[in-house]
Amino acid sequence: MINTSEQEELLKLIANFMKTDIEAVAIGGTAMMFSNYKNATKDIDIVFKDVEDRDVFIDAIKQLGYIEKSLSDIYDEKRQQNPAKPLMFSRSDERFDLFVSSVFGFKINFSQDAVLQKYDFLGKSRLTLNVPVKEVLILLKAITGRETDFEDIVTILKAENNVSWDSITKQAIGYKESLPWILIDLEECMQKLGKLFDIDDTYFKRLYDAHGD
């Protein structure tokens, strides 16, 4: 586990070991910690624009003693086969999940409009991490399907009253051709959430219609 201040210091340290400036998107627990939804996470999830940027980051963390790990303990078979799976690096308790441009096929928007918060770590080089809006965080949590992802969604929903299920379901439907399983995963997650929070039936109906049930 890594807490907020340790994460900030670690990223600042990594910026000192990077050869060039990098701009990437923080998702998952990292993004939640930046947004103060929680104060500790097991893994630092980052999405890079391209492989070159990821390689610069990997070079830096390798210098700090991080070693590549297998995905098998963390992700299920379906996600391990996915071409857009991450590379995983760890050192003691901390782990990096490093994606390129998409998260299991879900394309990450790198434009300024999609950014809610921007965190700059200035060392010898500059590491910029953008945090997407909460709806994207929830959708990504719903499709990564790891043990703690559901709890994280619950944490966000407890802290925010104004989550737009309209936006979440529309975005998921936009991916139904390229990621046919996205609607099933989201519906499963929404069913579980429905027991704890009010989610309007129209959003379920929208998913069923899109799936053709």
């Binding site: 947004s35 950014v115 918060q117 965190y119 200035l122 802290a159 925010e160």
Partner: protein, 161 residues
């Protein structure tokens, strides 16, 4: 920014929570230390306590620097937080990346505060923004009282145009 629970005066907070004024002050002070409360006013003005659902941190990035120096202020399009040393030169580079009309006017005011032209040119070159930097500088020269770009960098900008 985190969702707001509400705005309170100390008396109102005490009344709503059925506690004494002193207890309310203690509670609000505790919440402020944890980042859940922002306070405005004080002195002759009545203090207003804004309560948030989760801790908030004051942004300290691009918009803080620009709004400190620029005559026209910018509404932040995103919250920008910095870890490390963020200078006027870094803010100019970020302004060049955002690149819209209002930002251009605001950023032009930053040219007056440049202390490290070498760093600015190095960053602009690294981000392929040399041409745009030159354009912003020309605009700043016309519209504000700004520092003169060293000749060697002027030549470099023109060479890259």
């Amino acid at each position: 920014m985190a969702e707001i629970i509400g705005k309170y005066t100390v008396e109102l907070y005490a009344q709503e929570n059925s506690i004494s004024r002193q207890s309310a002050l203690n509670k609000l002070s505790g919440l402020k230390k944890k980042g859940f409360v922002k306070v405005s006013g004080g002195g002759k003005q009545k203090r207003i306590y804004t309560l948030y659902k989760r801790p908030v941190r004051e942004p300290n990035g691009f918009y803080s620097i620009v709004n400190k120096y620029a005559k026209i202020k910018l509404t932040p399009e995103f919250e920008h937080y910095i870890y490390g040393r963020y200078t006027v030169e870094d803010a100019i580079i970020d302004g060049l990346k955002i690149d819209n009309a209002r930002t251009k006017i605001a950023v032009s005011n930053l040219f007056r505060h440049i202390t490290d032209w070498t760093y600015l040119m190095h960053k602009a070159k690294g981000n392929n923004l040399l041409e745009r930097l030159h354009e912003y500088y020309e605009y700043a020269k016309k519209s504000t009282k700004c520092k003169r770009m060293p000749k060697r960098y002027m030549k470099e900008s023109i060479k890259n145009d």
